[in-house]
């Protein structure tokens, strides 16, 4: 039991969830600071979940102006142009989020994610980034890793009916609860994002999720073309298929591991599928709550969801073999 006790008001509001994760976890949550960047469907869902859960503060970053497309899975912004004209998506979301839970400090951080320095990330306990380039994912992850304190790092990528979450908790110890009440400390070591996506395809776990491979192809394609996730479409399929062949040949694996229909769907990812956003935002919320409270087995280190078959899969991809 560390720090001050929960106030009466907090105990009343959080009653049901304290019954799930305990008062000490709730206290840790209420002292935590979270940063999110890229306010699209699944991250909007995540913000709602984490504000309701009662974190100390939430900082949101997204300077884009509101477009119809950006609102396709957004329930924080009223559909009323007079309200949002000229204001960034973060500014508009901030107001609704504050409303969800007056005990959480929600604020907007302006600026380009890739320009934030190491010290900036040091202000947070968890950093969640979304809709950004491969280079940004790598660089933000590296900056978080340079800090003395552990900053939990998450990337989210929702495309059409598919989604990927990557988690880096670095060296993480937590209380594992086995059947009954038996508890013991558990140490898990996470690879960086760069390491996790550089694993040789031959040394991946057996029957690894096809989504892991397909996402790497798409990511690579965007990097080579210098385009953002929002700037690709199904018209790129032929070129993506070409890249798939090259990568599969280089890694000596069969192209059939990455089916065309899956690539096709990932390329259609502009408009979000709200049920998938709800699911991913929910899983991500639970993971961040676990990481902050130090309670419960954390996800290591990828989560994939495909609404077509309904499976939500965890993959542990951490062997840092980088040849090839």
């Amino acid at each position: 039991m560390d720090g001050e006790e929960l106030t009466e008001q907090e105990t009343a509001l959080y009653d049901r969830q304290i019954r799930v994760w305990g008062a000490d976890a709730q206290r840790r949550l209420s002292k935590s600071h979270i940063l999110v960047s890229g306010l699209q469907g699944s991250v909007i869902e995540f913000c709602k979940n984490i504000v309701l859960a009662g974190v100390g503060s939430l900082t949101i970053n997204d300077d884009r102006l509101v477009t119809e497309e950006l609102l396709s899975a957004n329930f924080l912004i009223p559909l009323d142009e007079s309200v949002y004209s000229g204001r960034s998506i973060a500014e508009l979301c901030c107001e609704s989020l504050k409303d969800f839970n007056p005990m959480v400090r929600v604020s907007v951080e302006k600026g380009e994610l890739s320009n934030f320095n190491v010290d900036f990330f040091g202000k947070f306990d968890a950093v969640i980034i979304n809709c950004c380039s491969l280079a940004t994912k790598k660089s933000v992850n590296e900056k978080c890793r340079k800090l003395l304190k552990r900053v939990a790092f998450y990337t989210v990528d929702c495309r059409d009916t598919c989604a990927e979450i990557f988690v880096d908790l670095q060296k993480y110890t937590y209380l594992k609860v086995r059947k009954g009440e038996e508890k013991f400390e558990c140490l898990v070591e996470y690879p960086s994002f760069e390491e996790a996506i550089s694993v040789h395809w031959k040394s991946l776990p057996k029957r690894v999720s096809k989504l892991y491979l397909a996402m790497r192809v798409i990511e690579k394609f965007e990097e080579l073309e210098g385009r953002s996730p929002r700037e690709i479409s199904t018209t790129d399929l032929v070129n993506v298929q070409k890249l798939r062949r090259e990568l599969c040949e280089a890694y000596c694996v069969s192209e059939s591991l990455i089916p065309d229909h899956l690539l096709g769907r990932l390329l259609r990812g502009k408009t979000e599928f709200p049920p998938v956003c709800a699911i991913i935002g929910g899983i991500l919320g639970q993971e961040v709550i676990k990481a902050i409270s130090g309670k419960g087995d954390p996800l290591k280190n990828f989560f994939f969801f495909d609404a077509m078959d309904g499976t939500g899969l965890i993959e542990d991809i951490s062997k840092a073999k980088t040849e090839g």
């Binding site: 006790e5 329930f75 559909l79 709800a278 935002g281 929910g282 419960g296 078959d309 993959e315």
Partner: protein
Amino acid sequence: MVGAGGIGCELLKTLALSGFEDIHIIDMDTIEVSNLNRQFLFRKSHVGQSKAKVARDAVLKFRPHINITPYHANIKDPEFNVDFFRQFNVVLNGLDNLDARRHVNRLCLAASVPLIESGTTGFLGQVTVHVKGRTECYECQAKPAPKTYPVCTITSTPSKFVHCIVWAKELLFAKLFGDRNRENDLNVRSSDSSISSEQIDDVFERRMDENIEKYARRIYDHVFGYNIEVALSNEDTWKNRNRPRPIYSNDVIPAELIGQNGNLEKNSVLGDASSVSAMASLGLKNTQDIWSLKENSKVFFEAVRLFFAKRGKEVGNMIFDKDDQLAVEFVTAAANIRASSFGIPLHSLFEAKGIAGNIVHAVATTNAIIAGLIVIEAVKVLQNDTKSYRMTYCLQHPSRKMLLMPVEPFEPNKSCYVCSKTPLTLVVNTHRSKLRDVVDKIVKAKLGMNLPLIMHGSLLLYEVLAKLPSPVTGGTMLTVEDLQQELKCSINVEHREEFDEEKEPDGMILSGWSQPPLEENKDKTVVENGASTSAASVATSLGTEDDEIQVIPTQIGNKRKLSDISGSALSDHSSVTSETKFIREVEEIEDTDDLVMLDDGLSDSKKRREQ
């Protein structure tokens, strides 16, 4: 949509974003403070208002052009009949109790409307699809009955804290502050017949002009001291049990000290009856603390004092309510004193409140995930993509790498009395049983019928307070029908002379209604739950018509069955609980990377193929 609570709020939002444009939503509940941590469409300023209506208004802000029709009503009201259900393409349940779930299942079957059913508890959840003729209905698998306890466990031999809570809430609280005319098993049966029950009852009556403290001490000494001594005199009871210790008030708090505890002024300043609190006047702050026997005794005395001093008008007609602070304090203290007596670990008020109020664990994230899964299934149903229907489990620990586990739905159970019209069997003493008992204990309590009719051939045997009419004997077939649910089932009557009072307290046994199909295989947890309906004697005599203990996500359905209310922490979510227990069983299957057929033994003839 049935339910605008935890799942309901998430579901309405996700439906609206996904492009659903004509949604009807029903919920009888109003908003409470403890909803606000996850029912994100509601604000503090909405407390007390209709959930369905506020949810509608909140969603229209970001999707103003869709139609949402709210109903602040009980789904079991007669206006929601089969014709009402027929107007929908699909029905989505976000309910919190078995009764309403069964009711909606029957109406969906009668109206031939697909139903998507859901439930969550903590990090666990499930979504199932029920399409008449294609997949099993909600009642094809036995639903574990809410946990109930034998009367003697509660009155004489408690071994768990929950037994003490049931005793404190259903017996002691009811006796002191509730309706005195209600049957109450508070006094242990004494072999000493010289004390008539009427004399005992006088003990609980506050005598004319009796000092409150004196009265409270008298009660304390009677229930924690004298009653335990009486129980101890039945030597047989304690052969294989730890003997309880009688506790007398003077040993815990010497008489002259009382009165110094309470701070009368503090409370009288507040004046508001609902804010009267023994904790406040004793300076106890943290609801998570576990009080000592002495502290519990002080709370006990102070709570009794405050009830009579500040809320005297309510004494005699109170029903326990988890949101009544003083009632929760009294029950916590009484349960803890009893627990000390029986060597059972004491609990905090926070924990005691959860047990006494049947409070179900709930977080926003699981509800959001489950809502997403419901919408995915709803889209399939609307596209008539029957091959893709899945039931999905949301797990806490991955099973074969899966956190969200889809499973192909089961086929309808051919021996289900709800969707396959298979006759049931009722073993009953046809000479002595009352039709009223058949209606109450069987037709309403077990078959979940709302407005039943009973027919024998073309003869209507309605609810009459009489012996079963003579033509009903062993071998007779009765027809029981609920006109609202459009459910009709046949019951074969078998005669039996004697019933075991302890094991068969109903005096009759119904079989075929919750056939335990899992009994022979390894899913033992479900069997334990399922079996409790018939084996354990239901604490019906403890029953109050308490529909206040319902909590989240939404309460739809009015009176709960008598057997529901004997204090199980999870009875509302019994179906979820059973499924999640089942999941744990699945998780134990060896982790393998192979795409396997899930062990068929899990459910007799039905395949659960992994997707």
